[in-house]
């Protein structure tokens, strides 16, 4: 592709040194879009489903009542498919003219692809597809993923790999449940969750930064340790008096609508009629991005993650900053962990995080170590997990296990460099030894 011939004159000393950029056509995006489009087309052709699809677009409390949309399933799916095909062509044309497809076009592609899939899956089904609750529940499922991914990004930007996100989520869910139940105050539960998760982060720091233990090992062992501790205490302590110690049914954060915003059709009730933790999540994504890319602290964090020696020579105390980063990251993950017992469930249960910490880790990588992208990756994975549950209810033709497998396969392809480019911070996982 880059057949650049360098003539002898350019190499000679007398020749002026010119800055030359070599343009490359990257066909990665159109190829991926083509793959998705072809896959969908094969699905539609191979197993056509007669009947109509019902989309519900509003909830009972909405000011603007949009009537249910009943569309012929296959026709709707094919119309969406045409949109997807056009976008794929646009991507190919953009790639041919050395440009990238803008982000909104990719989002639009994802939207039409999902719509095509839903139109096909819901055709002739008994139930209807409630778009509002589909999005709302996806956000709910994604809370621990997004907070976990944000914490993971901060840690890895500072050069500390955090496999222990799972442990932090579980610990926070546990302490949130116990403190919330005992005090009857969700805010006390949230504070306890944040503190306990930050404590796990501090332990990770002690072993990974001070004692320079291989970070992957510390993370994996912490996951086993916290799963053991919480399950032990759950069986030996919480179970003895669960109505007093492990009952957040009445304590949980209620859903609060934001005036005006929750009046927006479809996305209003889905995104802005949620519990306070979801609003904290929106703010946290922006705040972490701002802190990492627009503040002195963030510049230093990124410096110690890329080249700690260089950072040290200009007077940044690398290990002190790394401690700060893992503890703050732990606190952020703790908010997500609290959502298990203070938003979604009325009590703690053994190993209730069910591997979400690892999906958050996947989101970090899929999001290319960028907090905003990682948060969107978390939302996407949350959507896939939630979609599987919805399809299970309406009776979908796709086995739910393959929907659940999707985030992991996508991440596997991402780390293999097949989807986008993923590059970790240079000193990620390398302890810093001051000379």
């Amino acid at each position: 592709m880059s057949a650049v011939t360098v003539n002898a004159a350019a190499l000679s000393v007398e020749a002026p040194i010119g800055h030359r950029t070599i343009d490359k056509r990257s066909y990665k995006t159109p190829l991926i879009l083509t793959g998705v489009t072809v896959l969908l087309a094969v699905l539609l052709l191979a197993s056509p489903r007669p009947g109509s699809t019902t989309f519900t677009l509003a909830t009972a409390q909405d000011a603007v009542q949009i009537p249910q949309a009943i569309v012929p399933g296959m026709a709707f799916a094919w119309v969406c498919m045409i949109g997807a095909a056009l976008l794929t062509l646009a991507a190919a044309w953009r790639a041919w003219s050395y440009a990238k497809l803008p982000g909104w076009a990719l989002a639009l592609f994802a939207l039409v692809a999902i719509a095509a899939f839903l139109g096909w899956a819901g055709a002739g089904a008994q139930g209807h597809i409630n778009v509002v609750s589909l999005i709302a529940n996806a956000v709910l499922v994604a809370i621990p993923l997004v907070f976990g991914a944000l914490g993971g990004v901060i840690g890895e930007k500072a050069g500390v790999v955090n496999i222990a996100i799972e442990a932090q989520l579980l610990m926070a869910a546990f302490t949130g449940a116990v403190t919330g139940s005992l005090t009857g105050n969700p805010w006390a539960g949230l504070c306890a969750a944040i503190l306990s998760s930050a404590l796990v982060g501090a332990v990770l720091g002690v072993f990974a930064i001070t004692y320079r233990v291989e970070q992957v090992i510390v993370g994996v062992v912490l996951n086993v340790l916290v799963a053991g501790i919480t399950t032990f205490l759950f069986s030996a302590w919480l179970a003895t008096d669960s109505s007093r110690l492990n009952n957040t049914l009445t304590v949980r954060f209620p859903a609060v609508g934001i005036p005006l915003l929750d009046g927006i059709p479809i996305i209003g009730p889905a995104l802005f009629r949620q519990s306070i933790i979801v609003y904290i999540m929106y703010v946290a994504v922006a705040a972490v991005w701002f802190a990492l890319y627009r503040t002195r602290w963030g510049l230093r964090i990124r410096a110690i993650g890329e080249h700690p020696q260089a950072a040290d020579t200009v007077g940044i105390r690398v290990n002190v900053m790394r401690y700060g980063a893992v503890i703050i990251a732990g606190a952020i993950v703790g908010i997500g962990g609290a959502s298990y017992t203070l938003v979604s469930n009325p009590s703690f249960n053994r190993e209730m995080t069910a591997g979400f910490g690892y999906i958050a880790l996947a989101a970090v990588i899929f999001g290319n170590w960028n907090p905003v992208r990682a948060a969107f990756a978390g939302l996407l994975f949350g959507f896939a997990i939630n979609l599987q549950q919805v399809l299970g209810v309406i009776g979908s033709p796709v086995p739910s296990q393959f929907m659940l497998m999707l985030p992991y396969v996508v991440t596997l392809l991402a780390v293999a460099g097949l989807v986008g480019r993923s590059r970790a911070p240079a000193a990620d996982g390398v302890p810093y030894i001051k000379e």
């Binding site: 004692y211 233990v213 086993v224 053991g228 205490l233 296990q401 497998m405 780390v415």
Partner: protein, 420 residues
């Protein structure tokens, strides 16, 4: 470290009677001392958890300041009960009447240690090549799928042949699943930790799909996601008769230990693994195909994991298995390999220790009502402490090796002075 332990060494005049103290220092600074220290720390933490949740202790601590003796008595009884049960459940049951019943706990330990040893080897081999195999779960599940399918999918094969075929199928499936991670690492530079974690879940949901779909792995006529029972011809026979749980998987695991020892220490393939583990760049310069070694070491690790997975299906759970067939062994294996120092013989002893914990933990849960998870807490603490020797040495005031070297240097210098 405090200065009191170092000052005598550096200031003391060199004399021959220091020899014993130097020897003691050498031992205390060594790895076994750290292992013992880690074990003690982990057991202390476990004891605190047992004491915290024991109802008698909590009750007696209510009047601790009035009668502290009561709390201590309750504490002693709780500890004695728990650890007594741990030993009776894992090594020797002195309360039983017959020899068979007395020795049964030891046999349970061997039975529990079997998959831990095989899986621990799977992690240890890749460790030696400088690679993490966090994918034990996925590799074991892939092996269980293959071994199970050959087991009840192909009937009519006579006993030893059927069993051998099942084990080979399991090992091959594990090697395939591990090989994917190794191949991705070798060809695309994908981090093997992430790849193996993702493959764990892919394997898990693949098994769930197979279990939930009639005609694949699901038992005919069953609405539950469970496989049919493993046929008699594919089961690992009991090693010492039916009264003990331990089966022929245990000698198989011992064989795997010998094989790994030979592979790592005596074969040229093992040498390339270790060379890649020590320094991949130097290995490449020396003409070793690093990408090939990476893929192969993951296949070997996966095959050993597959052996563990096959043992689960063919020996431990023969009445039909579910998606929990791995039993968390894939993750326990990491702790086993770390405790064993990634040496095959070390893995053997670490596997036996954790097998004993597992057997004793179950007995503790049954007899004393202490949740079995206490075992995973103790195990992970042991590994955490062993991974950080300076911490253990600091807690127990053991000499640090760096100080030992400094002391030796100081002594030598002083001796030189006196020689002059």
């Amino acid at each position: 470290m405090s200065s009191e332990t170092t000052s005598p060494a550096t200031s003391a005049p060199p004399a021959d009677d220091n020899r014993w103290r130097d020897a003691a220092r050498e031992i205390l600074a060594g790895r076994p001392a750290v292992a013992v220290g880690a074990l003690i720390l982990a057991l202390i933490a476990g004891s605190v958890m047992i004491a915290f949740t024991n109802s008698d202790v909590r009750e007696a601590s209510g009047w601790f300041f009035a009668r502290p003796g009561d709390t201590l008595t309750a504490l002693g009884r709780a500890m004695g009960g728990a650890y007594g049960q741990l030993i009776r459940g894992s090594i020797w049951n002195w309360q039983a009447t017959s020899f068979t019943a007395q020795i049964r706990p030891l046999m349970n330990t061997f039975d529990n240690a079997t998959p831990l040893i095989a899986a621990g080897l799977g992690v240890a081999v890749t460790f030696r090549a400088g690679l993490f195999n966090i994918g034990g779960r996925g590799q074991m599940l892939a092996a269980a799928i293959a071994a199970g399918w050959v087991g009840f999918g192909i009937p009519g094969i006579p006993f030893p042949l059927h069993l051998i075929l099942c084990i080979i199928a399991g090992a091959l499936a594990g090697a395939l699943w591990g090989g994917i991670a190794g191949f991705l690492k070798a060809k695309t530079g994908a981090h093997e930790v992430i790849a193996t974690i993702m493959l764990n879940y892919v394997g898990y949901y693949l098994l769930q799909y197979l279990l939930a779909t009639p005609g694949l792995l699901q038992a005919p006529g069953s609405p539950n996601p469970i496989t049919p029972a493993t046929p008699e011809s594919a089961q690992l026979p009991a090693l010492f008769g039916r009264q003990f749980t331990v089966d022929w998987g245990f000698p198989l695991a011992l064989l795997a230990v010998v094989f790994c020892w030979w592979l790592l220490n005596r074969s040229s393939l093992g040498f390339t693994f270790r060379a890649v583990g020590e320094n991949p760049r130097a290995a490449r310069v020396a003409g070793i195909d690093v990408a090939r070694a990476t893929t192969i070491v993951f296949m070997v690790g996966g095959a050993l994991m597959g052996l563990a997975g096959a043992q689960q299906v063919l020996g431990t759970v023969t009445t039909g298995f579910t998606d929990g067939i791995d039993g968390g062994i894939g993750f326990d294996a990491i702790t086993v390999a770390l405790l064993g120092g990634s040496q095959p013989v070390g893995v053997l002893f670490a596997g036996l220790l954790f097998g004993a914990f597992k057997a004793g933990g179950s007995a503790m849960q049954a007899g004393q009502g202490i949740p079995v998870e206490i075992v995973s807490v103790i195990q992970s603490l042991i590994v955490l402490f062993i991974a950080a020797p300076p911490l253990v040495r600091a807690i127990f005031r053991l000499p640090q090796p760096s100080q030992l070297a400094a002391a030796r240097k100081a002594g030598k210098a002083a001796r030189k002075e006196t020689d002059k």
